[in-house]
Subunit: 202 residues, 2 copies
């Protein structure tokens, strides 16, 4: 009898083409805007006719979903690779810098992952789980710094989200808000430290 091949060359090629399509989709949304993804243009970019895309994705939303998963995966891996020094303030700063840099480096990706802007689209549970896992890393890091109140995490993410949002919307390509990361996190850190020292919370 014939054995099962250890590599499925067909599946590999299929996966490669999927990636190629997704890469072209990223190019398109970066230049035209996230909401301006069109299957015609996308197909042309990869040298196909539009219907051929349906061999790889069930729908346009499925493409958005795969992009969401890719973006979340990128962020998750960046989070995992972030070196930790043990200096709690410095680590919070570098973590937030990572987040803000990630957001501002690709506004379309930021929009897809962190804003709800495409009518009718929401990520599949599997794709969403990746971003949840990335947030869990931040939560763990915060816990290790002694900040276990869920509200601290919410405040921290709000700071990161706000700096990113302002940077992307009002000074794209600049550093008017990104340069405030270290100060903002110092502000946050001293605030929660002081509160924990007093042992009270309003």
């Amino acid at each position: 009898m014939l054995g099962t091949p250890s590599r499925d060359r067909r599946a590999e090629r299929r996966e490669a083409t999927r990636d190629e399509i997704l890469e072209a989709a990223w190019e398109q949304v970066r230049t035209e805007g996230l909401g301006a993804l069109s299957l015609r243009d996308l197909a042309r970019r990869v040298g196909m006719q539009a219907p051929s895309l349906y061999s790889y994705f069930d729908s346009k939303h499925a493409i958005y979903d795969a992009m969401f998963a890719q973006g979340a995966q990128e962020f998750l891996e960046l989070e995992r690779a972030l070196p930790v020094t043990g200096n709690e303030l410095r680590d919070l700063q570098s973590g937030t810098r990572l987040f803000v840099t990630f957001c501002t480096a690709d506004p379309a990706r930021y929009q897809l992952l962190f804003q709800r802007t495409i009518p009718g689209f929401e990520p599949s549970p599997e794709s969403y789980a990746i971003s949840v896992e990335a947030l869990q890393i931040v939560r763990d890091r915060l816990n290790e710094a002694g900040l276990t109140d869920p509200r601290d995490l919410d405040l921290l993410t709000a700071i990161g989200a706000g700096l990113s949002a302002q940077q992307v919307s009002n000074d794209p390509g600049g550093d008017r808000w990104t340069r405030l990361v270290d100060e903002a996190i110092e502000m946050f850190f001293e605030h929660v430290s002081e509160r924990n020292r007093k042992g009270t919370r309003k």
Copy 2:
């Protein structure tokens, strides 16, 4: 000779119809999403055929622009009406609460005014000027509190934007982030106060 009427009833009616169209447009974007505004549907909502809208607006973008102006005007008037107590911290808190409440009360409006999400649309200079004027009020208020560094304004707006963004994206209709406004502003206020007391800035 006939005198010029003191009221132009035709112009008044026209303005009323314009407002009616805009109100229907707001309804549509609130339910379908900001990017899902369609002239056909919009016309049907006001009992017209689509081409008739062109008697009132030159294009779809012109409708978005008028909506932008309306939203900015609403916010400007809310800012102007905000009572000021003289207690700097309390005033900053109520101002930020105003902003976050405004944003979360109508996510589509928030998206139109404060995010860049519609491909190809940007507000006209006249419409944009209204939002600039609103920001100027915040700047003045900050200056009166002794915070004259432009970076302080940027940090403050980032906090407001971040709380709003997180609230809208991750807990729509809830208060998981809006309830953090007072604490966040206290954090901000103590941070800048402390810095000014020391008289240094990194």
